[in-house]
Symmetry: C2
Subunit: 331 residues, 2 copies
């Protein structure tokens, strides 16, 4: 069925004259890499292409070929086709929504499974480690060349969404596709350096502060940390600089649930949560707070100062861990 | 030529009744993974096998199947065959040397190129990202099954020697072999978790402290940090907990030379230095202080309290950077 859908998408893209591509909010290497791989392909086919990322392009992803063309919004409407990469939730594309839904045909390509209908053609393949794996298949169905630029975009999606091949989503297909993309001109060493070894000085100090604030609870199964608005102000850091901190929390021995709370604006706290235990569903927890994500990684916002929010969120997390594991025991 | 050598090795191993396997000093995932993959294979063929690692097995590698059988030394001599994994320098196998050189045939398998003759059959393949890639080829030539245990040992070698596929040594072959080893039963997620995600709580807090102390000089080209004896005492950490901190300093954008100073005992400071620039030779710098290492990574000890040592070492590093780069410009 996936293959038939890919053929449909290939056909509507071939017939389109104008295409709008959209990334999700708080964009990562997969949503940006997929959109830019499609941008390069469609421009190569002579289409008029606009690529939108409501939240812009984080500095660590500006090396991606074509990233300089990405816009945060457009007044243009009436595109032939829209392609949304790496999210199944229309609210996750922010300001890009109006341009996307002005298109005659809306396509959604995602490796997450989300409920609800969105898009005229929807490709969801949860077995893929990254949406980049699906976009690669689409490009093969379209029978277009995989240039070094396209290979770099797609391999960036794979490398960032697998945390350098360390997550459970990695499959033999992920490795074989990585080999193919290397042969097409992508360099994993260059991508890893750009994404993981170009941290700004404030971001490194911010990581230090977060690790100094680290807490262990529930016999070490819950590991969390926080950053106050004062921390950001003192170190000259922004929320973009928190990228990667939660991965460092994960490195603590015996940790099962990880949380990072940061007061990005006074009275407004962003929370990222991760789980290593399938039974402890982070997407469902995030929904309680009006957020979203997937089972093992999710996020949400909470109003309040950091002290209030810390207490509330950590209390809820503790309860959630208890009832998730005890429910499963009954099941 | 490699293939002919592999066939020779396969034959002498098939004919052997007793084999001694040796890992290098300060053992890593590649030397241990290769020795244990060979141990499992040869035991499966009914050979008597002894595996030696003079420096034992670091805690993060104890999950490797068969690791519990590794000895630090043996009195046994007169083995039919010895196989040294992942080093071409006999002095790098420590106490294992006597047992190894008592063997009728000594085989050396390595992906580093070192000078001098060592071993009756020597396989050096610098294109391989890890010695594990060469051992895999040997097992295929021997036509033995790749069990899940063997696959785990070999994939650990690849993952640790490529820093999770981030170093320049990764090739399409590395990725394709990783796919094959996954299909044979190895889990990259499990290996990455065992090796990289079992940090102790004090070590994470110590990393936080080091990052809070971070300094940038020479237009950001020199990045350094320090830990005082009070930091270790307050956080309940030891020098073993500093493992990996310098890698985090490397992640700072534009950094060329990295240094980490820690006052392990009051008045005794250990210094690690790294360079990304071949012209700035860290081994030579370390020699000035009575230490040693390689061009891009070295270490030494300095007597004095952390404040004095900081001033002295950083001043020397600055001068060293200046004269190393200006000498090359003249050359």
């Amino acid at each position: 069925m996936i293959r038939r859908h890919l053929q449909q998408v290939a056909q509507v893209l071939r017939e389109a004259k104008s295409v709008v591509l959209a990334c999700h909010l708080n964009p990562d290497g997969d949503t940006l890499g997929c959109a830019l791989a499609l941008q390069a392909t469609l421009e190569g086919l002579g289409k008029r292409v606009i690529t939108l990322s409501s939240d812009g392009v984080p500095e660590i992803y500006r090396f991606l070929p074509g990233a300089e063309k990405i816009l945060t919004s457009t007044e243009q409407r009436g595109f032939d086709v829209a392609v949304v990469c790496d999210t199944g939730m229309p609210e996750r594309i922010g300001k890009a929504k109006d341009a996307v839904f002005s298109a005659r045909i809306v396509v959604d390509i995602d490796h997450h499974v989300t409920e609800g209908a969105f898009g005229d053609i929807r490709i969801q393949q949860p077995k893929a480690a990254a949406t980049a794996e699906i976009v690669y298949r689409l490009l093969k169905v379209m029978d277009v060349p995989i240039t070094p630029a396209i290979a770099t975009c797609l391999l960036t999606g794979i490398i960032t969404d697998t945390g350098l091949y360390r997550y459970m989503n990695v499959s033999p297909t992920t490795f074989r596709l990585s080999a193919t993309l290397m042969e097409a001109g992508a360099s994993p060493a260059q991508i890893a350096e750009e994404v993981f070894e170009r941290r700004s000085f404030p971001s490194v100090k911010l990581l230090g502060r977060a690790l100094e604030h680290i807490r262990q609870e529930e016999d070490g199964r819950l590991v969390w940390s926080y950053l106050s608005h004062e921390d950001f102000a003192e170190l000259g850091a922004t929320d973009e600089d928190t990228e990667g901190i939660i991965t460092q929390l994960r490195a603590v021995r015996d940790s099962v649930v990880l949380a990072l709370l940061r007061e990005v604006k006074p009275g407004r706290v962003r929370v990222s949560v991760r789980s290593r235990d399938e039974r402890i569903d982070m997407a469902k927890l995030a929904e309680k707070f009006g957020g979203g994500g997937h089972r093992l990684a999710a996020g949400f916002w909470v109003e309040g100062n950091i002290a209030e929010v810390k207490q509330k969120v950590i209390e809820t997390l503790r309860e959630w861990m208890h009832c998730s594991t005890s429910t499963s025991q009954r099941a």
